[in-house]
Amino acid sequence: MDFDDTREEAEFRKEVRQWLAANAEPKSGAFETWQSRYPGRDGYEGLERAKEFQAKKADAGFAALHWPVEWGGRALPPIYQVIYSQEETKYLVARGYFEIGLGMCMPTLFAFGTEEQKRRHAPVALRGQEVWCQLFSEPGAGSDLAGLRTRAQKNGDEWVINGQKIWTSGAHWADWAILVARSDPKAAKHKGLTFFFLSMKTPGIETRRIKQISGASHFNEVYFTDVRIPDSQRLGAVGAGWGVAITTLMNERLTSGDLRGPDFEEIFGLARSVGLEDGPAIKNSAVRERLADIYVKTQGVRLTRFRTMTALSRGETPGPENSIGKLVNAPKAQEIASFAMDLLDMGGVVMDKDTAPLRAAFQESLLSSPGGRIAAGTDEILRNIIAERVLGLPQDVRVDRDLPFDQLPTGAR
């Protein structure tokens, strides 16, 4: 058991530090994100600057450390990604633009695409020149993803897509997408799906941004009207789309789970700086007890990730136990936001960036954190995953498993 870098790791860390010092943007003192520094032109300014940084990062070989060398990676064990992230976090990080493409879409393409397709897409995705999105969820298929209804109908060498997707992060600026659609409504629900990738510039695609309760618009509705995809852009066999989607989602567990809003350090700092009726908040025993709870969870998740990384470095496969990080962090983010506002008492409601502590990061987190408990697996689905895949408990009784999909009951919502 040893937290020190090996000699190779220490050399790598030094290389990362030197490169970041020369190329990354320092954080300004306050709590700040890439999006809050570059809010211009409805977020597109942030995207353009993120692309510039991504190209530099890729050229320096830091953009996908665990990818094969032939696709611009360094084929390094996952521990090197941790080291890079530890160092990058000291700077303003361009998050939320390329994770889906590099973390989910490309691994799926690597597993199911042709050599030509990988050559065409991986290098430009790596440099941030093309952004990808993931067309999975639908209005009637969220946690129950396999209940999706967007139709894919074969027509000669093409597939014709009709339907609607929703909650698609970054679809408004994505160049390419992965898509799972229903190719056979007569088959049982998991057996009638087929997986594709396509250009978001394809005629018949309409994207509408969704305004979230935070006021931000990360997600979209995406409508398909007779959208044509060549059969060569199918990933996996016809009817085998569910298995391909599982590959994508397994990679999602590796990429998500970081808490992006205020964390223990921020609420601890706030408690040290604000006063309550009986003195500094940090001296109040009820406050101290809650802070301790938050610290223990925060450390627990961070250290659990080190255990996972150790297992990965030994060549073990990332398992469903990675669900812990998000299951703990997402509700914790909401708790921290609400707790921080309580410490500010009546003034806690103020969201004015020039007045509220940390430029209103806690208030923003109050409004954005509910999404964290829903996106990429709800709290409830994650508990099912832990129960079924880690603890080996039985699946829920499924009334829809073996029926033809088009005979399943549907509701109004």
Binding site: Q299, V301, G392
Partner: protein, 369 residues
């Protein structure tokens, strides 16, 4: 970075689990629960023969000279199997106090006997139903004689010597060594919520006492000792919590209601998932504590407090929900659920309550900030 136990340490775990599955089975633990014996002497001797008792005692003092990581591995298995022995008192507290602050003569007197399972030690700190602090310790040492009452003292009824928290007549509180077989010591067993671990009231009435080490450790030495024990007890708690989770899982898979395994109901699945999350967060915090303990790192005070808080809460959660999953059978004497429920509460208090450790944790984070 390598945040896991080594292959050798993991094979020690396998060996320990195999040994304890037989030697600390439910039947054996229940002999202590239901009988008059204060601990399982046969198991204790066996642990001595396995070389476990002297695991972290240096070779010059008759131990095996392994590190604390090996001790953590053993602690987890002892907690899992509810081993009814004076291991925690003797090793995490008494031997650890000697190693931390004892003079060479004090170490030579006790450590080799401990390593051979020939001496049992204990820590006498609490003085009744309130928090013991540097300011309120009533036990006094004057002219090398100690007087006062300690309650409860884990393994105080069977120990050969005690490390006693007491104040000198100047009011200066610290740790003292007392031979419990000498004059001026009256011990009576007291019942506790966990009869698988024995406890005593010890009344000192002018018993011979010598300062531990140079006698200048004061109360900070008590805190350092409790920090080190907190990491080791956290491993026992993680082991116990895992065992309670495993029991709940087995039962839920085998029990049918409404025509299905109860493990197929989300109310049960989500409960078990939450127990699992608690155990894993505790395990990770405990691992960090193990690392800090093994390196005597400056992070130890924070890491130990976090490990203690996480493990105490995870064990209690797992133990109480294990009863709930078992339904009515869970609160019968016959089922083993209560053994973990008792031990969870005991271990959660034996080094001070979770409430207090949370406060300590924040105080230490403040000091480090």
């Amino acid at each position: 970075m390598n945040f896991d136990f080594s292959p050798d340490q993991r094979s020690l775990r396998e060996q320990a689990r195999k040994f304890l599955t037989e030697q600390s089975s439910s039947v054996r633990v229940r002999r202590i629960l239901d009988g008059a014996a204060p601990y399982d002497a046969e198991l204790w001797r066996g642990m001595g023969e396995m070389g476990w008792i002297g695991t972290a005692i240096p070779e010059p003092y008759g131990g095996a000279g392994f590190g604390y990581l090996e001790l953590c591995v053993l602690a987890e298995e002892l907690g899992r199997s509810l081993a009814p022995t004076p291991f925690a008192s003797t090793i995490y507290l008494a031997a650890e106090a000697l190693l931390l602050a004892g003079t060479d003569a004090q170490k030579k007197r006790w450590l080799p006997r401990i390593a051979q399972a020939e001496a049992i030690g204990c820590l006498a700190l609490a003085e009744g139903a309130h928090v013991a602090t540097a300011d309120n310790i009533a036990t006094r040492v004057t002219g090398g004689r100690i007087s006062g009452t300690k309650l409860p003292v884990m393994d105080g009824d069977v120990a050969d010597f005690a490390v006693v928290a007491a104040a000198e007549s100047s009011g200066h509180a610290g740790l003292f060594l007392v031979d419990l077989k000498g004059a001026g010591v009256t011990r009576t067993s007291v019942s506790t919520v966990d009869p698988t671990r024995s406890h005593a009231r010890i009344v000192f009435d002018g018993a011979a006492a010598e300062p531990l080490g140079a006698g200048d450790g004061g109360w900070p030495l008590v805190e350092r000792l409790l920090d080190r024990a907190a990491v080791l007890v956290a491993f026992e708690q993680v082991g116990g919590a895992q065992a309670a989770l495993d029991m709940a899982r087995e039962y839920a898979l085998g029990r049918f209601a409404f025509g299905r395994q109860i493990a197929s109901f989300q109310a049960i699945k989500h409960k078990l998932a939450d127990m699992y999350v608690g155990v894993e967060l505790a395990r990770s915090n405990a691992y960090y504590g193990a690392w800090a303990l093994s390196k005597d790192a400056k992070e130890l005070p924070v890491a130990a407090a976090a490990a203690r808080v996480a493990a105490s809460e995870a064990y209690y959660q797992a133990a109480k929900e294990n009863i709930q999953v078992h339904g009515g059978m869970g609160f019968t004497w016959e089922f083993d659920c209560h053994l973990h429920y008792r031990r969870a509460k005991l271990t959660g208090l034996m080094l001070g309550s979770t409430r207090r450790w949370k406060d300590l944790l924040i105080a230490r984070l403040e000091a480090a900030a």
